[in-house]
Amino acid sequence: MTGPNGDFLFLLLGIGGILVLATTIGAILKHRIAPDGSNPTIENLNARIMAWWGMTALLAIAFLAGRTGVIILFAFCSFAALREFMTLTTKSAADHWPIAVAFFVVLPVQYYLIWIDWYGLYSIFIPVYVFLLLPIITVLQGDTRNVFIRISETQWALMICVFCASHVPALLTLQIDGYEGRNILLIAFLIVVVQLSDVLQYTWGKLIGKHKVAPALSPSKTWEGLVGGVASATMAGTALWWITPFTVWQAAAMSLAITLCGFFGGLVMSAIKRDRGVKDWGHLIAGHGGFIDRLDSVVFSAPIFFHLVRYYWSSV
């Protein structure tokens, strides 16, 4: 069991084992406490576990399909996330063309640039070129009502759902000495640590959470959950150092950085949901939220993780 395939299979088996355990616990809890599905916490937990099975399966399939598979998978994730985000933004009839361009030109071009590994362009395409060009298309439609809000929200949607999310597959383009052919494990590291942090924060919060971090933003985030979740996810990430190019201490520092980014990303996204008066971003699974609800923390941590790795480890 050496090489990237061996390590990835090993990791996959580990995740599979944890998920089997989680699914069993979820089923027992449901059977013991509320077999009729009347306990929202247990239902939420089981829905999350189902979502992780889906994520794990998709990631495994994408890995088998290689770099192209991973890029296509995340392009579709971006599409689904942007579809959710744009549903809640301020729009007018005049925005039809700019939004069509965002979906059918900007998104494919960004992922194409990652596919051809043109770092110099994919890292400024949306923040510079789209930032300037899309407002031009918008104002040429002639509707000035709320125009500042409309162009800002569309740009923000593209930054979060396309630009930031695309930095997950962009990890495959990094060239790290002695780590050739293993970059997929960086993606696995990022997603596993951030998702673990999400669920551990939730679990710690449910178990011993008392003091709310930001009651105005999110009623469910507590200091106990934050500290317990980030600490235990950081330990889990540290224990995964063997799949990364990092040393043990570096793996710990990276885990801490991405779990904190993920936490604050979740806060930002729930503030936006509050502003728009919705509980969830979408309805991917009926009653249990959308793509963005599950991926917000990964999206916030991906570009930071990407640039930290690129700055300190990459040879180009």
């Binding site: 689904a80 942007l82 579809r83 744009m86 549903t87 979906f103 919705v278 979408g282 309805h283 991917l284």
Partner: protein
């Protein structure tokens, strides 16, 4: 041959509708069971017929016929194929002076065949800022003639932003289709009272603006 092609086209249309809108059905006060029903909905987009058709469970969909405008669905060979072979529409002519059939007779014939129907009682696409245009009398006439059939109010949310009037390329946004508790015309209910009640039943399914949910 035609029927295989029609089924494949139908599957492609459903896939495309789901790709663009991730549409979800909300059954609020009614269950999705294969009973004969007349679904009546708000109408703001050309895609309305297809969206309702997409969210109906397959067993219900195959027995449901959209009532649609002949002048639209007979305009080209492709539309004719989709309208007649894929959607199995009941085509009626909206121009009283040009038609050689009685629309109500065609609709009642379909009802007597056991089909469920999809109709848009506003009679045209709503391009105004008002949530709903006043209903035409057709819905009342159908219920008065076939009082045993349930009329199911339907609210289509957001599709007018996906595909506003005059636009060809749809933009991807989430849509929902909400089905409400059925109504029927009471034996001696006046036409106007029934139509008002039907409009209110549809409007009651529209999501409230965000401010109200705080």
């Amino acid at each position: 041959m035609i029927s295989v092609l029609a089924r494949l086209t139908g599957a492609a249309i459903i896939l495309f509708a789901r790709f663009i809108t991730a549409v979800r059905a909300i059954w609020d006060g009614i269950e999705p069971v294969p009973r004969q029903r007349i679904y009546f909905a708000n109408h703001a987009s050309n895609g309305d017929t297809i969206l309702i058709w997409t969210v109906l469970p397959p067993a219900i969909r195959t027995r449901t016929r959209p009532v649609a405008a002949a002048d639209y669905w007979l305009q080209s060979p492709l539309r004719r194929f989709i309208g007649q072979d894929v959607l199995n529409t009941v085509l009626i002519d909206r121009r009283p002076d040009a038609r050689n059939h009685d629309p109500m007779a065609l609709i009642l014939e379909a009802v007597d065949d056991g089909a469920s129907l999809i109709i848009f009682p506003e009679g045209q696409r709503n391009a105004t800022d008002a949530p709903l245009l006043p209903f035409k009398s057709g819905l009342y006439n159908i219920s008065a003639a076939r009082p045993q059939v349930d009329l199911v109010p339907v609210w289509i949310e957001n599709l007018n932003s996906v595909m506003p009037k005059g636009k060809i390329i749809p933009i991807p946004l989430l849509c929902t289709v909400t089905f409400g508790a059925p109504i029927r015309a009471e034996p001696d209910e006046p036409r106007e009272a029934f139509l008002t009640r039907a409009q209110e039943a549809v409007l009651a399914l529209a999501p409230r603006p965000a401010e109200d949910q705080q």
